[in-house]
Subunit: 346 residues, 2 copies
């Protein structure tokens, strides 16, 4: 067993506190990673606070993990000690179903294993990246290219791939008009990536408060959704809407902004369903969809793409003892655009 | 003016009665059609009964029209007297917007003109095909190939194109698994066309009453949706679901039947929105969409395809004085699978 330092919560209402957790022995196909940085994702907070279901406390969260390989198992070929690597939201899947074989492990028909709070194949509960070390099967470990700053790369493992995957799947590129709803952790990555891919990018945010940022990140237009005129002005305007907001929106209003054959892709997971009227879809053969992270192969592709194009997350690095305060600031949308914990301070 | 015999309703609650209506003079680009057969679509009933909005009574409905060209305007080049032709749900559109220029007149950004109950560009109210004659701009008149029986071709102008278009758009063909919800006028065409295109076709119907028919039409499997086991058994099974039912269904249950990247396309227009939960979409990157008829170019392509592959509607030909009784039978789902009015009896 490997004893790791970690921050964990004991209940839905307790703060995160320093503790130690046990990681499994490094098996033949395992990689032991000394974690350098862990990003703070809103999902971490939803999970710990019990908003997404029952939680096996005590729990350490964090699924935007980067670090250095400390040790590899005897059969590991893809990684070696000293490598810069990352781990995202998945640490296992069945690897034999059609979706896994297609490289889409996030849609594993037998259920993938999440990086924290999930039951691993050996029956243990997975523990996340707010921790000094983690042991992960090599298949779920990706390389962080040299060109990427390690801290700024951490959020790519969730916010990056979650936006990159639908942008590629729905073919954002030159000639496509992409709207991004919400300019937070996911939204700011969606804007950077869509602009980099050559799409014409518009931000739809509640207010114009972050307009300068949005344009700096690559958007050519920025509208306030609190202004009803926005919806009149932008009718039939977009080929793809990437919705990064985790709340149930007015589907009719947003769908009306899609041009013929346009798709609204939802990345958030609000508990209430959307009310989707047929006429809003049928009037322009519009589609309403949702996407979750990306497969391992595509996560590697995204990291390579980001290194090549000089893209990473805009981050604020914090020390471990600031994590509870940082969570409150995430809830208040007071971060531009991602907190990253410096695990050396843990 | 051309005086035409017709059946019309004077109110939402009156029966259809014989009358005469005026058609406009044949303009330079118009085609005067002597109607031979008109299909009965459920939309005709919804419209007359005021279920889809205000109706300009008296109104003649019918948008599955086939007949023989009686006269053409001086500038008409595509059609000539004596030609077998058809008219579907659209008789005009702006023809200058991006969607019209793309041949998708059904999604005209300035609003297409429906075959009945709509305001035409000259300010008159359009009147449908339960009538002896109609005058239509040549662009909205399609050729009925010789190989097609004229009566059985009538329903292709709505039920045919409404199912053909999404099957082609979402690439139904060899290797794709298509489910068709509902085996009525649209459903039986969806089964025939999807099977002809090479897809593996499953019918999802409330009961197994029409199973023999479904298999004769080309389905290889047939399930009752009243049996909860159907939804357990078929989870993750389809690439495309064509929903021909005009009622608000349990989106969660049907979406769960889609495999990775599958799409549920709705062709009906129930007044209530569907409740679409994010998890049902995000779990397999599923899409929820809707489609309306098809463009004029694609309608011609569909008729040519049907002639080439020996496909038409299964019909019951009635005389004009049976139309009110036929409507009641449509409402009771007592038709296999489309009533067609023999306009010679009008």
């Amino acid at each position: 067993m490997v004893t790791a330092r970690a921050y964990a919560a004991d209940s839905a209402t307790s703060p995160l506190v320093p503790t130690t957790i046990e990681r499994r022995e490094v098996g033949p196909r395992d990689v032991l990673i000394e974690i350098a940085f862990a990003g703070i994702c809103h999902s971490d907070i939803h999970t710990i606070r019990g908003e997404w279901g029952t939680v096996p406390y005590p729990l350490t969260v964090g699924h935007e993990i980067v670090g250095i390989v400390a040790e590899v198992g005897s059969e590991v070929s893809a990684h070696a000690a000293g490598d810069r690597v990352g781990v995202g939201c998945l640490v296992n899947s069945c690897r034999s179903c059609a979706n896994c074989l297609a490289g889409e492990e996030q849609y594993c028909l037998n259920g993938g294993v999440g990086t924290y709070g999930d039951v691993d194949r050996d029956g243990t509960i997975t523990q996340g990246g707010y921790s000094s070390h983690v042991v992960v099967d090599e298949h779920f470990v990706v390389r962080v290219p040299d060109g990427l700053d390690l801290a700024a790369a951490a959020p790519l493992l969730c916010a990056g791939i979650t936006t990159y995957s639908p942008l590629r799947h729905w073919k954002a590129g030159p000639g496509t008009r992409v709207a991004v709803i919400g300019l937070g952790g996911l939204g700011h990555m969606a804007v950077k990536l869509a602009a980099s891919l050559g799409a014409e990018v518009t931000v739809l945010s509640q207010t114009l408060a972050k307009e300068d940022d949005g344009k700096r990140l690559g958007a050519t237009a920025y509208y306030a959704t609190s202004d009803p005129e926005t919806f009149e002005k932008l009718v039939d305007s977009f080929d793809l809407i990437i919705n990064t907001v985790s709340a149930t929106l007015d589907a009719t209003a947003y769908l009306s902004l899609l041009a013929l054959d346009g798709t609204m892709v939802n990345l958030g997971a609000p508990p209430e369903p959307f009310a989707v009227p047929m006429f809003a879809l049928a009037a322009r053969r519009r589609s309403f969809s949702a996407s979750g992270i990306g497969g391992i192969r595509e996560t590697q592709e995204m990291l390579d793409y980001c290194a090549e194009h000089g893209i990473a997350s805009d981050i604020e690095v914090i020390s471990a003892d600031q994590v509870n305060e940082a969570w409150e600031r995430v809830l208040a949308s007071d971060v531009r655009y991602r907190f990253v914990i410096d695990i050396a301070t843990l």
